[in-house]
Amino acid sequence: MAVTADHIRTKLTKDLEAVHVDVEDTTSNRCTTSFKVLVVSPQFNGKSLLQRHRMVNTCLAEELKEIHAFEQKTLTPEQWDKQ
């Protein structure tokens, strides 16, 4: 079963109450599933970078088993507004 960008977006939006999610399929010829995500969630407030990434990893634990490469950027709504 291939993991889709839409599926990842839906899950992150629901589980992490993300206000903004970018999912980019970075699959090359070699890999079947590679994704780059940007998650903006108020749940990241007061959390360290490692804690935030762990939250995303936990949310996508099942999907990550299928995913070959995974890049993530995690921002709070305030950090997102500044960019």
Binding site: L49, L50, H53, R54, N57, A61, L64, K65, H68, A69, F70, E71, Q72, K73
Partner: protein, 180 residues
């Protein structure tokens, strides 16, 4: 008797063929072997990450990274002038030594460990062991002073926002970027 022997041999052969054709079989076998020594492995990994101030688990070696993400970690450390760190290669040592590209479908094998300065070689289980140990799903993995720091994205962001210089300072390492 001879025919019985022959048919048994055939069974064994065909069984072997099935095993080879289905990587899933190899996976489960590797998993049970890992289960047997997992406690020992966790202890080993616990000691490995504490042995050196900076420890990385990567695909390939610092001299020849086999993946863009691992390469990014190596390059970031190099930029900061961090030369002495332990680099553990999670790919099969056999394949690496012979310059073969590892088949992603093949069961993960032994973890070849290369520590630069002081040069040291040890062998532990495969990359699944590292992933379980840190509860982190991907390679590369970076440790400072025995503490899990994160993967490539986290190291890159720490590099960009200046945190990495501070973290290295805590380890008693002066970032080369301060002198640049």
């Amino acid at each position: 008797m001879t025919s019985l022997f022959r048919s048994t041999a055939q069974c064994l052969r065909s069984g072997l063929a099935v095993y080879r054709a289905r990587p899933a079989g190899g996976r489960s076998r590797a998993a049970s072997a890992r289960f047997l020594c997992s406690a020992e492995l966790q202890k080993d990994l616990g000691e490995m990450v504490k042995k050196d101030k900076v420890v990385v688990f990567i695909k390939g070696t610092p001299a020849q990274p086999m993946c863009g993400f691992s390469n990014a970690v190596v390059q970031i450390l190099r930029m900061h002038g961090v030369d002495e760190y332990a680099a553990y290669n999670v790919l099969e040592d056999q394949d690496l030594r012979q310059g073969r590209h590892r088949d992603p479908a093949a069961p993960a094998g032994q973890l070849q460990v290369e520590i630069r300065a002081p040069a040291k070689l040890c062998t532990v289980d495969d990359e699944e062991g590292v992933k379980d140990f840190s509860n982190w799903p991907t390679i590369p993995q970076v440790y400072f002073d025995g503490e899990f720091v994160g993967g490539c994205d986290i190291l890159l962001q720490m590099h960009q926002n200046g945190d990495l210089v501070e973290e290295l300072k805590k380890l008693g390492i002066r970032s080369a970027l301060l002198d640049a």
